[in-house]
Subunit: 152 residues, 2 copies
């Protein structure tokens, strides 16, 4: 069996990059709000100098009827970035509970292709419906650790 | 820019597959325990008949000194599977907090290659240190929704 991971320790002394998110669901308005607050410890990522980095937010699987993909404004690579951008997704709670939120740090490669470097993945199975924003930091896992993709 | 996702709704009426996990960290023994309890709604995955499915658990990035990769016993495809297997990872809390737990449903392809179909990814930045098991269900995101991987 192929392992699909590089088993060596990577980025150990640097720790991992993190993203701070505020998540909120308002039952009355059927609105899920993702506040992308801050990126930190980006030095742990392999950023290209002079290539703007940005955060891509996706609520997956996408629904045809609702916008599910968002990108923050780009910024030049730096260790910490204050983002403070808000994205609203209109969705019934029972639908949202079947979704997964992916938050990825990406850049545009020299060939113009979007490349994601690392990301967090958050199951929305137990999304909080209090209407209050829940703020947490999430470790970003480098794509170099993701197992082989099967292109099904 | 390439989108990297299939924007169509998939698996809508079927909902998503889920895994129920119990996570526990014991400070005294520096031991992180992952209890893989149950898979449910596996019909939402594209399982191959007569190919055993299993769950792969990985604490990433791997440390050289600690085992970080585990697999459950296989079972033939079915909608729900009681797993109830426990995996222990020895790790200091400040190290564990930099890690991400990946829990993937995999099978072995006809060519003998490990293929992962869907997974959950759990940031361990705020892993609970009460010593009590925290049990939750996590939605499994199909790999078909993962963006293009950049093989860095």
């Amino acid at each position: 069996l192929l392992l699909g991971y590089d088993e060596r320790e990577r980025g150990g002394p640097l720790g991992c990059a993190q993203v701070r998110l505020g998540l909120k669901y308002e039952v009355k308005d059927k609105r899920f709000t993702v506040l992308v607050m801050q990126l930190s410890n980006c030095s742990a990522l392999t950023l290209l100098p002079n290539h703007k980095m940005y955060i891509r937010v996706a609520v997956l699987p996408c629904s045809e009827s609702t916008r599910c993909l968002f990108r923050t404004c780009g910024s030049l690579p730096q260790d910490a970035v204050e983002v403070n951008e808000v994205f609203d997704i209109q969705m019934a709670h029972n639908v949202l509970r079947q979704k997964t939120l992916r938050v990825d740090v990406c850049h545009t490669s020299p060939s113009g292709r979007e490349e994601c470097l690392a990301g967090a993945q958050i199951s929305l199975a137990d999304v909080n419906t209090s209407g209050e924003r829940c703020v947490k930091c999430y470790n970003l896992l480098s794509y170099s650790f993701m197992p082989q993709i099967n292109s099904k």
